[in-house]
């Protein structure tokens, strides 16, 4: 019979130290399309029609709501001028929903002063209660990956907990289907204060593309107060780590006014 303990020790350390150093594990993985309006010929709106979720709108100029983006890469295949390009911009977590909207017309956003919302007692350790509010299971698959030996979430002092009574953060995936609405709210009500909420995955941010039809959901807006919005379909495990550390004010936000600054 194999000696598993010995095998495990022999295999050595598999964990990355990202984001401090070490690989993020995302080689080749595509993020949100990058947009440079300088390339847009006047009057062109080819990308608008190509987007299956209505993330791109044209009203004189192009506006992209990354909170509706499912990273399908259609727009950049359609764009005739290379204004939209593939990118590795997946660390897209923000504190204000508005920061996911890239509007050409908007004046360059000044850095918004952050009201420090996080209790200092939480900074070292965080307990998460996850709720699937109607996901496709893609987001769960990446959340489960956080516990694999490579990402090893525990190294950051972050844990999943079965009971909302022990949880600091409610992490919600899925568009919030009609049948999950009440159980979701009950879970939040069962949490002690201060309690925080993360909308994880494009579904939970805006409902897209599950936001139409008789069983549509529109994400967490108007249902729960959200502290961190993380679009992505699904967000990869490193993007989840970035979002959690952003919540804990241990890393800076990379996206402001829809613009990603590495």
């Amino acid at each position: 019979m194999p000696n598993w303990v010995w095998l495990g020790m022999k295999a050595g350390r598999a964990a990355t130290d990202w984001p401090h150093h070490g690989p993020d594990g995302q080689e080749g993985n595509l993020g949100m399309p990058a947009f440079d309006s300088g390339h847009c010929p006047p009057g062109c709106a080819a990308c608008v029609a190509s987007c299956p979720t209505g993330a791109i709108t044209a009203d004189g100029s192009i506006t992209i709501d990354y909170g509706r983006c499912i990273v399908c890469q259609r727009c950049l295949e359609t764009c005739p001028e290379g204004a939209l390009t593939p990118s590795d911009h997946w660390a897209f977590a923000v504190r204000e929903r508005q920061d996911l909207v890239l509007a050409q017309s908007a004046a360059a956003d000044e850095e918004r002063a952050l009201s420090s919302r996080i209790a200092s007692s939480l900074k070292g350790s965080l307990h998460i209660r996850h709720v699937d509010a109607g996901s496709c299971n893609g987001c769960e698959s990446e959340l489960q990956a956080l516990s694999n030996p490579f990402y090893n979430l525990h190294r950051l002092g972050i844990f999943f907990t079965p009971s909302p009574r022990f949880a600091d953060l409610l992490l919600v995936t899925g568009p919030v289907t009609p049948a999950m609405r009440a159980p979701l709210i009950r879970t939040w009500e069962a949490m002690p204060e201060p309690r925080m909420v993360m909308a994880a995955g494009t579904c939970a941010v805006s409902g897209a593309p599950m936001d139409q039809g008789y069983a549509a959901g529109h994400g967490l807006e108007g249902i729960l107060p959200v502290d961190v919005w993380l679009p992505g379909c699904p967000p990869n495990p490193a993007a989840f780590i970035h979002a959690l550390l952003l919540l804990l004010e241990r890393v800076p936000q990379k996206v402001h006014g829809g613009r990603y600054e590495p």
Binding site: G28, L143, N148, A179, Y214
Partner: protein, 492 residues
């Protein structure tokens, strides 16, 4: 419909015909309703065996039908779904209570019902489900869900138990129902791929591929050979990461911690390969109607996965030599062959109970016809047999990827799409990591008017409770892990 012999029946003829078909050993695959204006057609898809066309039974213009759920138990859920969503009624149904639309909730008019009757929203709050009354001394009821421990999909387990023994078990699903079949309606047939990829995230390829194949059949498209071969690579990579995940999770339930770590790490390595090959860890954004959206460097993939293959096979062999792990699997959650057949088991679950079915072999699609693989078959029907089937199918996936990569030839990757097809219908299918998957698409005036999705977990969730009644709590998590179910695809 492609690959189907159609037979039009009256409601009165349905039952005797179904009885005959089942007596001859044929198996119903799915049933659904499609409305045109105010006329409904109920459809039943029957498999007549390997490499034979399907039989499609159609009953036109009758809103009240006899329930076949007594003769063909696996049809029970399909009939309830049609009652909940399509406005049909099935007489003398043995379980006439709601399935998709929970007790306490409603949606009027039926969202997949007669056309042009306006649109309603699914509303209300889930009330207590209809459960059989279990009478015995000291029976306790436990409701666990819809939000459970860890990072799990939403769904509600109901146990009636005494001490450790479970007398009766029922799962309440469809908390995650997103109304996705109707979500396709009104789209151009080429526009539905991103939705199909999001029915079940860990089945993005098998769902999108079945959808694409259904539309390709409806539009009469021929997929170029290179695209067909690359589709095999994508489908088998999906099988690979799903199966590694399965073993990682299974080890968690048997408390083999290091085994869990190895399994999930192997899953991670495959997802990394997926991202490097396609830009997506879930292999999304590649498939399109007619072939692939862009060419993929599939030639090198055989070499790239070689280390994963070596480590993976050593890992599986170690699991097989671990008595403490095997002990928990042997004799756990036995699914007898007849129950598997009657209740509709599919995929590794069916093949572990002696049902020899695999869509890749029995109804070849993509480029499977050109490749060699064997389909494992076990008779015991216990958790161990289910894991053995998965192990061998994991090995076959590794082998298929290598074969497919070696036989790739350069060429075009997408067929020309006709500007418009006014009317048509098509059936697509795949063998996903969890079993058989069907998409039926109906096109009118160039747009999708009905898309029916049959996911493997819709079949296997119905079967699972039959292995739980009369078992014990200690085995439950292991048994559940051995089924390898997902919820999203079932709930849609």
């Amino acid at each position: 419909m492609n690959e189907c012999e159609s037979r039009i029946l009256t409601a009165a003829e349905l039952r005797p015909v179904a009885q005959d078909l089942v007596r001859q050993g044929n198996r119903f695959q799915m049933a659904y309703a499609v409305w045109e204006g105010h006329t409904v057609e109920a459809r039943y898809l029957v498999a007549l065996g390997s490499r034979r066309p399907f039989l499609l039974l159609k009953v036109r213009g009758e809103g009240v039908l006899p329930s076949l759920a007594r003769e063909v138990p696996l049809l029970g859920w399909y009939e309830r779904e049609m009652m909940d969503l399509a406005g049909l009624h099935f007489e003398e149904h043995p379980e006439p209570w709601p399935l998709i639309v929970h007790e306490g909730m409603s949606v009027r008019p039926p969202p997949l019902g007669p056309e042009g009757e306006g649109k309603g929203q699914l509303a209300g709050e889930s009330g207590p489900p209809t459960l059989p009354e279990v009478r015995a001394d000291q029976v306790q009821d436990l409701i666990w869900g819809p939000i459970r421990g860890d990072v799990l999909e939403s769904g509600e387990h109901h146990y009636s138990y005494i001490g450790e023994g479970i007398l009766h078990y029922q799962m309440r699903l469809f908390y995650k129902h997103r109304g996705l079949e109707r979500r396709f309606q009104g789209l151009l047939p080429t526009q539905g791929v991103h939705l199909a990829e999001r029915i079940s995230g860990v089945g993005s390829v098998c769902h999108a591929l079945a959808y694409c194949q259904a539309v390709e059949a409806a539009l009469g498209l021929e997929v170029p050979p290179r695209a067909a071969m690359l589709r095999v690579i994508l489908a088998e990579l999906e099988r690979l990461y799903n199966h590694f995940h399965y073993f990682g999770h299974l080890c968690k339930t048997t408390t083999l911690k290091v085994g869990e770590a190895f399994g999930t790490l192997l899953e991670e390595r495959v997802k990394e390969v997926n991202a490097r090959l396609t830009g997506s860890r879930f292999l999304r954004n590649c498939l399109t109607v007619g072939g692939l959206r862009r060419d993929l460097a599939g030639e090198d993939i055989g070499d790239i996965i070689r280390t994963i293959a070596d480590e993976g096979i050593a890992y599986l062999e170690r699991l097989n030599r671990t008595a403490s792990h095997q002990d928990r699997l042997i004799g756990t959650g036995i699914l007898p062959r007849q129950t598997a057949f009657d209740q509709g088991a599919t995929g590794p679950v069916a093949r572990a109970s002696g049902l020899d079915r695999d869509m890749r072999r029995d109804h070849p699609y993509a480029a499977y016809e050109l490749l060699h693989f064997t389909v494992p078959l076990y008779e015991q029907g216990d958790a161990q047999a289910r894991t053995q089937v998965r192990m061998q199918s994991l090995r076959a996936a590794l082998d298929l990827i290598a074969q497919a990569a070696a036989s790739l030839k350069s060429g075009s990757i997408c067929a020309d799409i006709p500007a418009r097809v006014d009317r048509g219908e098509g059936l697509g299918w795949t063998e996903g990591p969890r079993g058989s998957l069907y998409y039926a698409v109906h096109i009118r005036d160039g747009r999708l008017v009905r898309v029916k999705i049959k996911s493997p977990s819709f079949s296997n969730w119905r079967v699972f409770p039959f292995t739980v009644h009369g078992s014990n709590m200690m085995d439950f998590a292991i048994n559940e892990a051995s089924f390898g179910l997902t919820v999203a695809g079932c709930d849609r």
